[in-house]
C-alpha cells in the first residue's frame, strides 16, 4: 500500500464517520445525507482500489486518469446542489402557504374580537 493510499482511506473514513455522526446527532436529515454517504463510499472505493481510476479512464477514453476523479467529484457536487435547489423550491412553497395561512388566521382572529 502506498502512502497516498493510506491517507486517502483514512480521509474517506473520517468523511464517512463525520456524516454518520451528524445524522446520529440529528444535525443532518437522512434524506439529505444519502448523496453525501454515496460520495463518501465512492471515495473509499477509489482509495482502496487504485486501479478503479485507470479502468474507468480507459473505459471512457480519458487520457489523463486523475481527470476521472475530478469528474466523479464534480458530478457528485452537481447532483447534491440540484437536490438542494429542489429542497429550496419546496420550502419556498411551504413558506408561502404558511404565510398565507397566518394572514388568513390573523384576519379571522381579528373578526372575532
Amino acid at each position: 500500500m502506498t502512502k497516498i493510499q493510506i491517507i486517502a482511506i483514512i480521509g474517506s473514513l473520517f468523511f464517512l464517520s463525520g456524516i454518520i455522526q451528524a445524522i446520529r446527532l440529528k444535525r443532518l436529515k437522512e434524506a439529505y445525507a444519502l448523496l453525501w454517504l454515496a460520495t463518501g463510499i465512492i471515495f473509499l472505493i477509489v482509495s482502496c482500489w487504485q486501479h478503479a481510476i485507470d479502468k474507468l479512464a480507459s473505459i471512457f477514453g480519458i487520457a489523463y486518469a486523475p481527470a476521472v476523479l475530478f469528474l466523479v467529484m464534480l458530478m457528485s457536487v452537481i447532483v447534491i446542489l440540484i437536490q438542494y435547489s429542489m429542497v429550496i423550491s419546496r420550502q419556498n412553497d411551504q413558506i408561502k402557504n404558511l404565510t398565507q395561512e397566518i394572514a388568513l388566521l390573523k384576519q379571522q382572529l381579528k373578526k372575532k374580537h
Binding site: I95, K96, T99, Q100, I102, A103, L104, K106, Q107
Partner: protein, 248 residues
C-alpha cells in the same frame, strides 16, 4: 357561509398614496343591493398602507407576515374568497390603474355564463387612456404571439392584472395560482390548460396614481426570460385534477 357575492382582491405593497382613492372608487361604483367585499392583501408594506386602509373602515385586511410578491398576495386573497364561498372574485390593482366602473361589466359577463375568467384589456380598442413605453409594447406583442402559439387563442393584454373569476375558476386558482413573481401571462396558460374559458373585455386604464411599478426597466430582461420560460413549462404540465369543473 357566503359572506357576499363579489370579493375584490387588492394586493397592496406600499400603496398609501393611492389606496384610499381606490377603495373610494370601488365604493362609489358598487351597484345598489349588491354586496361587494373589498379585500386588501398587505404584502409587508413599509409605509402606512395598513393604517390608511384601516382608517377607511371599509375593507377587510389580510396581513401577510412575509413579503411574498404579487402572486403570493393574490393567491392569499383567492384562498379567502374560496373559503368564504364567494361567487366571484375580482383582482384589482392598488395603485389606481384600474377603474372600478368596469367591475360591473366583468361580473355581468361572468353571470351570463359565457366565460369563467374575464381579463380587462387595454388593447382591444383604440384609446389614449393608457400610454405605454415602446419596450413594454414590444414585450406585450411578444407575449401575445407566444400565447397564441401555445393556446391558439388571442389574448391582447396578457400582462393585465385586472381580472375577474367565477366560483369554479377562483377555487381552482386559490389552489394552483402560479404564486411567484409576474404570474399574469402564466396564469392564462394554466387556465387554458385546465379548460377554463377566458374572455377579454376592453377597458381603459389610468396612469398609476402613486407607488412604483413592479416592472422597472432594468428587470425587463429578467421578466421576459422568466415569464417565457414559465409559460413554456406551464404548457408542458398535465392539467391538474380539477373535479370542480363541470362544463365541457
Amino acid at each position: 357561509m357566503a359572506e357576499g357575492e363579489v370579493c375584490i382582491i387588492i394586493p397592496c405593497y406600499n400603496e398609501q398614496e393611492s389606496i384610499r382613492n381606490v377603495i373610494q372608487d370601488i365604493l362609489e361604483n358598487t351597484p345598489d343591493g349588491e354586496l361587494w367585499t373589498i379585500l386588501t392583501v398587505n404584502d409587508c408594506s413599509t409605509d402606512d398602507t395598513v393604517k390608511t386602509i384601516e382608517a377607511t373602515q371599509k375593507a377587510v385586511i389580510l396581513d401577510l407576515p412575509c413579503n411574498l410578491g404579487i402572486g403570493g398576495a393574490v393567491q392569499a386573497g383567492l384562498k379567502y374568497a374560496s373559503r368564504n364561498n364567494f361567487s366571484y372574485a375580482v383582482k384589482f390593482d392598488g395603485d389606481g390603474q384600474h377603474l372600478a366602473k368596469n367591475i360591473c361589466k366583468f361580473i355581468s359577463e361572468l353571470k351570463s355564463g359565457s366565460t369563467d375568467v374575464v381579463i380587462g384589456s387595454r388593447f382591444c380598442i383604440k384609446h389614449d387612456g393608457f400610454k405605454s413605453t415602446f419596450l413594454r409594447q414590444v414585450g406585450i406583442k411578444y407575449f401575445q404571439w407566444l400565447i397564441k402559439l401555445i393556446t391558439g387563442k388571442t389574448i391582447t393584454d396578457s400582462t393585465s392584472g385586472f381580472r375577474a373569476y367565477n366560483h369554479q375558476a377562483l377555487s381552482f386558482m386559490a389552489e394552483h395560482y402560479p404564486a411567484f413573481d409576474y404570474p399574469e401571462p402564466e396564469e392564462i396558460i394554466l387556465l387554458n390548460r385546465n379548460n377554463f374559458r377566458i374572455k377579454e373585455i376592453p377597458c381603459e386604464m389610468r396612469k398609476r396614481q402613486g407607488g412604483i411599478s413592479c416592472l422597472s426597466s432594468n428587470r425587463a430582461v429578467y421578466y421576459m426570460i422568466k415569464v417565457s420560460f414559465s409559460i413554456l413549462m406551464a404548457a408542458l404540465r398535465k392539467p391538474e385534477n380539477n373535479k370542480g369543473l363541470t362544463h365541457d
